[in-house]
């Protein structure tokens, strides 16, 4: 019985450790994006052409991401002290911007998650895609 209890304790401890691996402090530079449109490629998903749609999706609670200059996609779970990640007002304000953030990075089951400590640099929208792609997805 004691062996079973020890095994159970070890399993719980291992499970907790696996789920609570410490984050890595990183700096990420990239464009704030709507994760759904970008990852599904259902439309052109970047820059000024997609800005209005990206606002719709962020306001609708779809996870906002950062498309890093390193080619990775990061899901944003927190901005500063605000742990709102469903329609976060601060993130809505900087949707489609090119930013550099300092953040804690958690990687779980193939997805990169960020809790952003601060936005180090905000260049605004610099990815001017509307001349080529119009306004996504409805053209207006």
């Amino acid at each position: 019985m004691r062996t079973m209890a020890l095994a159970g304790f070890a399993a719980v401890a291992l499970s907790t450790a696996a789920q609570a691996a410490p984050p890595e402090r990183v700096q990420v530079t990239g464009e704030i994006i709507d994760s759904w449109c970008y990852l599904t490629e259902i439309m052109y998903p970047e820059g000024s052409a997609h800005h209005q749609c990206a606002i719709w999706c962020a306001a609708g609670g779809i996870p906002v991401g950062i498309k890093g200059d390193d080619g990775k996609v990061y899901m944003v779970l927190k901005l500063g002290a605000d742990s709102t990640s469903v329609a976060n007002p601060g993130i809505l304000e900087i949707q489609s911007h090119k930013v550099k953030v300092e953040a804690d990075l958690y990687v779980r089951d193939g997805i990169n998650y960020l809790t952003i400590a601060q936005v180090v640099n905000d260049e605004g929208i610099v990815n001017l895609t509307h001349d080529e792609y119009g306004i996504q997805p409805f053209g207006e």
């Binding site: 800005h51 990640s85 997805i111 207006e140």
Partner: protein, 179 residues
């Protein structure tokens, strides 16, 4: 091709029939799935920052399946809306999730089409966002305003009025759109 997929996916989001089983949206790398899982607050799961009731709808919610894998649902059945609104009532509970698992651009994520309390609760279509939005904005859930919530959301209208549709200011919109 990409545009065709986009139009098809949007059409499904608007017009998907009332069957209580996931349907293809024609997305690249999609697979129809149904599985049991526990609903979790993703930030809590990762960092140990765990407010009551999974953050009360303000946080992204995930699904931890029986293999311990954390699955992130990005989307529900409402145009331009996410899945947290559909899962918050099941915080920390087990559900049956029905939808599409999509693997594309090197990432795997889910779109939630139906959900129910495990194992045999009544199915709920993952479109309750609309009713919740309508209630917050004092319109009928079946009104055109609610169906096209993205044109009528006060936060969106305020942002677009200030930033423009392109995000470059209203003058840039006028020049581009000829308005």
């Amino acid at each position: 091709m990409r545009n065709l997929i986009g139009v098809a996916a949007l059409a499904f989001a608007f017009l998907s029939p009332a069957a209580q089983a996931a349907e293809s949206w024609g997305l690249p790398g999609e697979e129809i799935v149904r599985f049991e899982a526990k609903v979790v607050d993703v930030l809590c799961e990762l960092s140990g920052d765990c407010p009551a009731n999974c953050g009360g709808g303000k946080r992204q919610l995930g699904l931890v399946n029986d293999e311990g894998r954390l699955i992130l649902p990005l989307k529900n059945q409402v145009p331009f809306a996410g899945a947290a609104y559909e899962l918050i009532d099941f915080c920390a509970k087990r559900v049956v999730a029905d939808g599409l698992m999509v693997t594309n651009r090197g990432y795997t994520f889910m779109t939630l089409q139906f959900v129910r309390a495990a194992p045999e609760g009544p199915w709920k279509r993952a479109n309750r966002f609309t009713a919740k939005w309508a209630e917050r904005n004092n319109v009928a859930a079946d009104s055109d305003a609610a169906k096209q919530w993205f044109y009528n959301d006060p936060r969106v209208k305020d942002l677009v009025a200030r930033q423009g549709k392109l995000g470059l200011g209203t003058a840039a919109d006028k020049e581009f759109l000829g308005e």
